[in-house]
Subunit: 334 residues, 5 copies
């Protein structure tokens, strides 16, 4: 699990206004440009592509009346997913992931959602996530949902969780490809891959478990900011998170099982190698001994001058080898 | 665990009407033919052999007054088993399985049950399941139960769970056959089989645990659609699910134990192979050395010309071998 | 864990009537003979040695006013231990075991207890169990307890649980005997025994855990059929079950520890074997090479004709061997 | 874990009376001598060094008005720690341990405490325990606590739990001494010791977990026999028990970790042994083959009569050995 | 985990007084000098660098009106983290750690915080901790928080927990450096390091789990000493502790995974070593046997005098070696 630590690009601020016919998207440069937002019957959504500078953030927070702890939470880089209800805002901290199938690296980024009255403010550092949301909105335009702020939050959460499911599917392909050759032809790369995937699973769990708590709390939250109808949709997200966790746990156990099988397979191979060595050694070591006896230079060795000495030697050798082979067959080594 | 992904056959719609004497089954072609259903004192049951096309589904849903989330649930292919109460309908999503003993593959399919007022609508993609239900109904006809919609749902759930028990029994046969030769004659196929069965157990657990939650919730649900008497029968299903889970957990542990024993057995065998090799090597390597000494061509080697040289050589060789054999007996290697 | 599947013997029906002085036991042939039972101030106990035929059972159930689910439960062969309160009867399904120390097989049988008003009806297929109960009753006769139906049920449960404790004690003896020679002289039989005992523990757990739930529920049950005083005694049974579970878990962990130690011990032995092989090989292989050099037939080999060639050869050989021995001593292989 | 099974010595009955200045201790012979006890403002304490004979016990129980279940509990040798409130008495069953560092045996004994109104009756078979309590009382004498019966019970429980902590400290010394040489110089004794300590931990857990429940219940018990102030002290005992459990669990995991490391260490050693063997074999086996070639007696072998044959032989031999050594260095075996 | 057991230095008593502009720090020699403290609107903080002597402590406790259990808790060296509310004080026992990356030793010290009315009394044996707090205070001075006693306690807890996070980061660096060479080049030092880190994780868990309970209780505590606003900050500390625990658990699993991979890697290496040995042995042992045959001195050996004997010998040798090499290639050993 790697934190994405690319050098901070200039912050991109996007403002999306909803009305009865759809939504308007525009990008602004300065934080102050956001202050005009938030009017009318329909909600607005402000997204920042990364954390603001401390001073900007403080001003921004002052204008939108943030509790100091909200500011702390936006600044704190190590916060784990959580939900906190400050009457005027609901703060949602979440962890969005993406998987790079080539390096087997899962990249996790903290995202922040602030659900206010007809206002959603988000800090989504993962561009894919924002792009996916925009596409979702565009598709939605044609259908005539009356957009609500809490429904928008549901959509963001759903997109984040869908990302987990996509990641798991990619991981599944990796697992599947590993499993194929596991017992018949295990290589050192297999071991490395299982090891990597296992470690990734452990990291993943650190992100998803608290997210489950967050969405669970959100469905139970008594707040005028969250509509009862939206909660039914949130239950769906909760269900998907549970699916993610179940799948993840199943993968973890599968990977453990694969490691065990890999080890068994290696043990099996070692056994096979040793059998070959032992069969060769136990057949040839004794007959080599016999041969070396008759290579000795003792003056008196009656066998050497015996007429059929050499032929008897071969008979003895073949008898010895045959006995050993029968013994190995009995032991089922052959 | 494989999702059955055969190319979609044309949807088969079956309508079953109950009356005081039994039931009438008929098959219809078009979704619209279902709209006349649902009259009188006794319940009706509509079963679809697979998901409908989106448009058909929407029309169907409109006619029968489905909540949008019900439509979403029918469409969503990855939903895990769950229960949701929409006043006019109770939605049950479940996972039905079947086991192919030859490939050791468990095939899981999502089924959907909608329990309405005197109406049950089901999407059961697994044909066996539907056939089993029909047989159950035919047997029932002779006895004079007054059919109720919730009792029908109980029967479907019972059939699904029975299928799990049958699957477990088939798996048990596999486990039993593996265990027989485990410690005396473990083969590579044994390892593969244990590995496969373990992975299947992990998949199975993903289906059955949420099903337990579903049936548990159903027995506690306060809804006019579920009769108090039926709940007593549902407790029976719940009990069977718990039995499935207990059995499954026991199998999993047994398989883990078998893998451990397999590994121990392999270690044992390796040990035995190594002992054979060591006994042969440690006996023959020294005496071969002695023989090779007297194969040397030094001019001055008094032993070679000694009268009893060759006989003494044999005495020494036998003494050396004897000593080694005694040593091995003391070490209990023989 | 084997289900006892001997061919069904003719059912044995025993009726025990209690009065103020003790109890009368008599055996009847036909189910109808039970119908006269159940009169007066003291309870009666009817025991069946096995399940009845379906028709007989139905008649019997009709006479004694059984709920259909009670009949289902008696027929269902795979029911797990459970408690269900049908106002006129309390149904207790339990699992009674016995251990065969020679085959290391635990035999489990389903037993059924129906606690009614001044009436106990039981299906106890395990004869030992019934015999043990009769003995308990005979001993009780002298003391002047006023027998109650619920106290009788307590006695049966206590007898069943005592049986578990006896079984565990027998298993303990097995474990203890295995442990003795575990680290010093492990054999293949040891592995088989540990494996068998582990698998038995897993089966055992499947029986005892639900039994705990049953007795626990019974102590909390609000029913006129269970007296408050009896519940104090039932707490004792509950305590014994908890002891069984604790002991069983401890045994399981001990067996796991023993398997680990067995494996370590095997590894140790392998190591020892390999050391012997390596010591012999690394000493004799080089000196055999030296000997084979001077067995070569090159025309020009000055060492062969040197005066002290042979003596120098021996000096070299001894130096080489000595160096190796010192090396092994330094490595602590000797 | 061994039950101490020394032949029953004659029971020793000690009566301790408290007054405002301290306490008086006296030993009596007969059970009847206890009956005069229990008067005045301060509590009395009767301790039995072992279980009474059944008849004596019954008489004793009758005099002090024991519930039949209390008598059963005193007689039952296998009872696990528990708490039961019989209005006039609180029954505490506990398990006291002591550790013999030489045999690595933990000896556990059941103790019983009956807390009545101004009366404490105990059966403490472990003499050390009683001795420790007496010392504690003697020290207390100088300070002017007004002794209460429940405070005395607290003191006994505290002494019992302290004993666990002392035992754990002794076990820690064992663990520590094992860990020292674990990775550098593991011996077979190491394995035996780890195995023994692990099994002891499993037994220990069986004693301490229920004790935690007992003390926890005692702190929550609503009874006139237990003062609110004493409960604050009991919380301290509870805290110490939790410390015992935490420490024990940590030790168990440490021992598991040590066993794993031991196994890894053995594997490492095996690897090292095999490398030595392989290096020697792969260097000497080929060159011995070369030497044996020139020991052949073929008539036509031009090399034998070549002028520099023998020297070229040595060059070849050294080149072969050198190549192998380079190969091993590349493989990092040297 | 080592308890720091340096010989007790003279106790250092530091008194910090807050006022509206900041704080004043002074050091006093005698315990009595603390008695003048605690006046005015703002809180005071007294810190002791180590436990006091018993008599001093008792006097001190008397002056500040401590409950006897508070005194016991300060004296008790083995107390685990806990929270107790004595109306006039809240007692917090915690465990502060520091990590020495060179010895891989985590050093844990018990700290005690007493939160009174406008008064905080602490026993912080870890100097770093106190120094960190002072720095925090100095930074705070410039900002104009109105200091409250409970906020100060929050700051201490936050500092302690931050220390855990720093320690985990240091441990992470260790883990990361180990993981790098784990599969490609495992050494014995790797094993030692993994073993040490695993044992440290076990110790760490013993400290952090109860701390979580302490802070959790503090956020739920109904006490006039803890302000509602401060609880929001304490939730932040709680969140960080949960992060510590999650991270720790993830590390533990990672280390377990690494140990498993290390073992697999060793097995792999052993396999490779054995293959080399087997390839060499099985090629050279048979051909050496052939060579030794023609070193025999039988009078009648037709091959020796055959014209192309020697050349045929070489052809046979090469054929044999070639066959073996093909066999190994087929087995994928080469």
């Amino acid at each position: 699990m790697e934190k994405s630590t690319s050098p901070a690009p200039p912050v991109k601020i996007t403002i999306i206004n909803f009305d009865s016919t759809g939504f308007h998207e525009r990008e602004v440069r300065r934080v102050e440009d956001c202050y005009q937002v938030q009017k009318g019957e329909f909600p607005a959504w402000i997204n920042f592509s990364r954390r603001l500078e401390n001073q900007e953030l403080e001003k921004f927070g002052e204008h939108f009346d943030f509790h100091p702890i909200i500011l702390d939470s936006i600044e704190d880089p190590i916060l784990r997913p959580r939900l906190q209800d400050f009457d005027n805002y609901i703060l949602i901290v979440l962890s969005a992931i993406s998987f790079n199938p080539e390096t087997h690296q899962i990249c996790a980024d903290k995202g922040i959602i602030l659900l206010g009255k007809k206002l959603v403010i988000t800090f989504l550092p993962k561009e894919e996530l924002f792009t996916a949301m925009m596409e979702w909105l565009r598709e939605l335009k044609t259908t005539s949902h009356k957009m609500r702020a809490d429904y928008l939050v549901y959509a963001i959460l759903d997109t984040v969780v869908d990302n987990y499911l996509v990641t798991l599917e990619q991981i599944w392909e990796q697992i599947d490809s590993v499993e194929e050759g596991l017992l018949t032809n295990p290589t050192r790369g297999t071991l490395q891959l299982i090891h990597d995937l296992k470690q990734e699973m452990i990291s993943l769990r650190k992100s998803i478990w608290p997210l489950r708590g967050v969405v669970g709390s959100l469905t139970r939250l008594e707040s005028p900011l969250v509509n009862q109808k939206t909660k039914l949709y949130l239950l769906d997200v909760f269900d998907h998170i549970t699916l993610v966790i179940d799948t993840m746990e199943a993968y973890r156990e599968m990977l453990s099982g694969m490691l065990e099988s890999y080890l068994s397979s290696i043990s099996n191979k070692l056994n096979e190698v040793m059998k070959v060595l032992t069969i060769f050694s136990t057949i040839f070591i004794p007959i080599t001994f016999v041969a070396s006896i008759y290579g000795m230079n003792f003056q008196y060795m009656p066998e050497l001058t015996a007429k059929y000495g050499y032929i008897i030697f071969w008979v003895v050798i073949l008898l010895m080898s045959g006995t050993m082979l029968l013994y190995f067959r009995k032991k089922k080594w052959l």
